[in-house]
């Protein structure tokens, strides 16, 4: 969400990095901006948590940044209803360990001078970050996803990721033990096998699209089947928008730290961690606070947006029939528009393969069970032969081994 705000500021003042304006805002303005954004959410029926009522809005939720951005097309202040990124974005960004690294930065800067004294801009970033994500939220506000019932924000996010994707974060507590949170019985533990099979099938479409002769292994029906199953899996967990508020706040947090790492922002420069890429900045920050970033940070950042967009499209059931499935891999010529879906799918397939170590471009190999030797012609041999020929449709979905998390 904060990346959207930075984008609007860049539209208003081309040439000036948007983060400068975002990080200069007061924490009160930013929390109220989130209230304004929630009020202007697209699909409010699917995200039913109420926004601040109109009668209270002028007092409780006006951020004061609207008048300046009222002319920016596509901004909420110009009247646009906006979608939010998918929870996969938050999951992938959090897997870089950025949240934990910045929590340690806050601890160091609040309690001593080991990391040097930050500049005024750096101090403002620290204050805002602490106020937004490491303080008790206003109980009635959209940020209020923690309470006496669920006091731990990280546990709330872990619960979200587990319910939607059946995955844990790739880092636990400092002593190496898993981070404690409630794991409900109803969780999408089938997500990863289905998602990876979806990526494999789309890759077949990509690599065979230009085939003018020979075999074409593209299977649009299989892509559509997987797309529909993934849509069912994700939307059933989101019935009546039950996870929408937590998903929104998780995305907000991820976009804050992502925006911080996308450029040499004041806190990055203050900590002497300037670099040319988000992953390199995070690696240096991790070294400063003695908490290593994930080795696959580059992959997580590179596919976070693309995976988020594609999953939003899957949830919208855009690929739930064979005719639409080809839009995932088709190359286009004018007058057709450029196919960004194909580009995004290629990004995801490559980066997911690197991050998980499981090659989404490789053809699946199935090992046939070794049958005991029996006399040819015997009824048992006939039955074994028929069984071996039967497609193993559940072979992928039945195995959860190694699919608990990427990386």
């Amino acid at each position: 969400m904060f990346r959207a705000l930075a984008t609007w500021y860049e539209s208003l003042s081309p040439g000036q990095p948007g983060y400068e304006r975002v990080f200069a805002l007061h924490p009160l303005q930013l929390t109220r901006f989130l209230e304004e954004a929630w009020r202007m959410r697209s699909d409010p029926g699917g995200k039913p948590s109420p926004a601040i009522p109109p009668a209270l809005f002028p007092i409780e939720a006006t951020s004061g940044i609207g008048p300046e951005l009222a002319t920016v097309a596509g901004s909420i202040y110009a009247g646009a209803l906006i979608p939010f990124r998918h929870a996969m974005y938050a999951y992938l960004v959090e897997n870089t360990r950025a949240v934990e690294i910045f929590r340690r930065v806050l601890e160091e800067c609040r309690t001593g001078e080991n990391l040097d004294v930050p500049s005024p801009e750096g101090q403002q970033w620290l204050r805002t970050t602490e106020a937004l994500f490491f303080s008790d939220p206003h109980p009635g506000g959209i940020m209020g996803v923690t309470s006496h019932i669920c006091p731990d924000f990280r546990a709330v996010r872990c619960n979200l990721y587990y319910r939607l994707f059946g995955m844990d974060l790739n880092h636990g507590r400092d002593d190496g033990t898993p981070y404690p949170y409630v794991k409900p019985a109803a969780a999408n533990r089938e997500f990863v096998p289905l998602w990876e099979e979806f990526l494999r099938e789309v890759w077949r479409g990509i690599e065979n699209f230009k085939n003018t002769s020979g075999a074409n292994a593209t299977d649009d029906a299989a892509i559509a089947e997987l797309g529909a199953t993934l849509a069912d899996l994700l939307t059933v967990r989101q019935r009546n928008g039950v996870l929408a508020q937590v998903e929104f706040i998780s995305e907000v947090m991820a976009s804050w730290f992502h925006l911080t790492l996308m450029s040499d922002t004041p806190i990055v420069v203050d900590l002497k961690c300037a670099a040319t890429s988000p992953e390199e900045r995070l690696r240096k920050l991790g070294e400063r606070v003695r908490y290593a970033s994930d080795p696959n940070t580059e992959q997580y950042f590179a596919m976070a947006d693309a995976a988020s967009y594609v999953l939003l499209a899957i949830e919208a059931r855009q690929f739930a029939n064979a005719s639409g499935a080809a839009s995932l891999y088709a190359e286009t010529s004018p007058p057709d528009p450029p196919n960004r879906l194909r580009d995004m799918m290629m990004t995801i397939i490559a980066q997911w393969s690197i991050a998980t170590g499981r090659d989404m471009k490789a053809h699946k190999v199935q090992v046939a069970p070794r049958a005991a030797p029996v006399a040819v012609g015997a009824p048992a041999a006939q039955a074994a032969l028929a069984s071996a020929r039967r497609p193993q449709l559940t072979a992928m979905a039945g195995s959860h081994n190694g699919h608990d998390r990427p990386g």
Binding site: A80, R85, M262, S263, S277, P278, S323, P337, T347
Partner: protein, 148 residues
């Protein structure tokens, strides 16, 4: 598969087979449903993508291997101070060498809208085969416009 060597200007140069095939055989048109999905997805990305500032290697950019090969959409001539070919297309911004009928050309430049402006040789041929070499691959432009 380029047959030309940039060091040997007198060798007849042709384009890569892939680029020539793409020119001759555009991709099959989308169905209405596919076009609707792609347009919808483009609008979704436009609503969420950004910001534009930041690291060159930031996630808002496509990785280098997803870049498309260059494409020529049309060639015409301009008659300003210096006669030149104006080549429209995409991916021509990263051009680093140009040949006309096998002879290397100097003084070309990338103009507005990513158009490539190539000065006509003094002995301008009636038919010109313009090979453009970019970081993403080769493409051939013909003047007058080549049709099969």
């Amino acid at each position: 598969m380029s047959t030309g060597d940039p060091e040997q200007g007198d060798v007849v140069v042709s384009g890569s087979i892939a680029a020539l095939r793409d020119l001759a055989e555009p991709y099959p048109p989308l169905t209405n449903l596919q076009r609707q999905i792609i347009v919808w997805f483009g609008e979704l990305v436009a609503a969420l993508d950004g910001p534009r500032s930041g690291s060159e290697r930031g996630p808002a950019k496509a990785p280098y291997w997803t870049k498309r090969p260059p494409r020529v959409d049309g060639v015409d001539t301009i008659r300003d101070e210096e006669p030149a070919y104006r080549i429209e297309g995409h991916g021509l911004e990263s051009t680093f060498a140009v040949w006309i009928n096998g002879r290397p050309v100097h003084g070309w430049r990338v103009g507005a809208h990513g158009w490539l402006i190539v000065p006509e040789p003094h002995d301008a041929p009636r038919e010109a085969e313009i090979l453009i070499r970019t970081r993403e691959g080769d493409v051939v432009a013909y003047y007058p416009t080549f049709t099969q």
